[in-house]
Symmetry: C2
Subunit: 221 residues, 2 copies
DNA sequence: AATTTTTTTTAGGTTTGTCTAAATTTTATT
DNA sequence: AATAAAATTTAGACAAACCTAAAAAAAATT
């Protein structure tokens, strides 16, 4: 049986998991930035997580979660995303309001709670930001998705996820009336600034900057 | 604005609140028993809660929450009971399984979360144990209820709440097929041991001990 | 290859919430 | 009223999770 971890431990584990998705490894400074703590505090926790056999770590080296660590991380990600889905679908939260609350809810320890919640929500496969929700075995759906910047002109497509969850981004998307599930086509690309003209489902045209297009993932329909 | 309190502080506040319901005052030993901590730890926390102006406390004296303390306590009780209701009504928990989970959920801090949850649940007025749920202003319904031991013979009545939530009690009630909302009549009282014969709605007769009868609250119909 | 800069760790503190053991105060009993 | 018992507080420690400042190691630059 997997033991329980403290809220602090869980936050470290989850953040290591996300950071190691890109290169497979994480550095002390990266992690301290992600967690808003000092590098010295990270070192303390790395020793503890190594002792608890969740982490491959040698002093001064990059580190990564081992199999057990990843399993624990997926459990936390699962809880986080299920709660986000609950907040949006059942409690009328905006998709830009759920992250902080889920940051707390993800640490509730009851196993039964999360299984019943999953069932109550009808086993959703993606959270409100388009990120996949691991099932109780840690498996998650992959969506073949591409960046909006890579989408050719005049192809029907649907927004599947966003590359960041900063309030700033979500505020801008809300203003432009774009969210997960929005249908759109790219109508023009302007080479001067790489900005893009989109046509939304209701035929409304909106212009988005290259910075914005490069954090929107879509799938062709 | 009311500041946020730590999980430990909230558990102390809530327990003081419940304990002072009977005599208006609480002692160090009572509280340490309720919280499963040592009296010395209680003294430490009492000083802190007094400093934060939630508590009337002088060394070696009994203590009680002041108005602000009670307000904070009611907020925690509200969250606890709403979550219990959610677990039973939406997530298929048994009424004897919800307490521990609610013990964690009651500390989630989002104000919006609890208001939306209340609305989602349709503003329930009683939790699964029959205890009243404070509204967002701290007001709660009172139920004119009497102890089953005080109920005269042959009066139609309904179980409204239980005087304890120990697993032992809930196990026994489940075995006897009694829960909140069960309709019953007292048919006989045996003076030898004060045990009582009940008739349930389905005409089934069950015998309950004096100890059990004295923790069941009912209202006449 | 030597030097500088950056990254990481170590050493030593702090706060919160707990504990044990001893001291003090209050309450009960003789 | 004196003494014994019980309740409470104080003193001193400890673990978890953080911090700052200094030391050590690794990486980058000259
Ligand atoms: Mn979190
Ligand atoms: Mn998300
Ligand atoms: Mn609690
Ligand atoms: Mn209850």
């Amino acid at each position: 049986m997997i033991p329980n971890f403290s809220q602090a431990e869980e936050n470290y584990i989850k953040n290591i998991y996300h950071l190691q998705q890109s290169t497979g490894f994480v550095t002390t400074n990266e992690l301290s930035a992600a967690l808003n703590t000092k590098p010295a505090s990270v070192t303390d926790m790395l020793k503890k997580l190594k002792l608890k056999k969740l982490l491959n770590y040698e002093p001064y080296k990059e580190f990564q979660l081992n199999a057990l660590g990843k399993k624990v991380a997926l459990g936390i990600v699962r809880k986080h995303r299920l709660w986000e889905y609950f907040l949006v679908e059942k409690l009328q939260f905006g998709w830009d309001e759920v992250h902080e609350v889920a940051e707390e809810l993800e640490h509730i320890s009851s196993k039964k709670l999360i299984e019943q919640l999953d069932s109550f929500l009808n086993y959703p496969r993606f959270d409100p930001h388009g990120d996949p929700i691991p099932d109780s075995n840690g498996k998650m759906s992959v969506q073949q998705q591409l960046l909006l910047t890579e989408l050719p002109l005049n192809r029907f497509s649907e927004v599947t996820s966003v590359g960041s969850q900063s309030t700033e981004l979500l505020e801008l998307l809300k203003h432009k009336n774009i969210s997960i599930g929005t249908r759109l086509e790219v109508k023009r690309k302007f080479s001067f600034d790489q900005s893009t003209e989109l046509e939304l489902e209701n035929k409304v045209r909106v212009n988005i900057s290259e910075q914005l297009a490069s954090v929107l993932f879509v799938k062709e329909l």
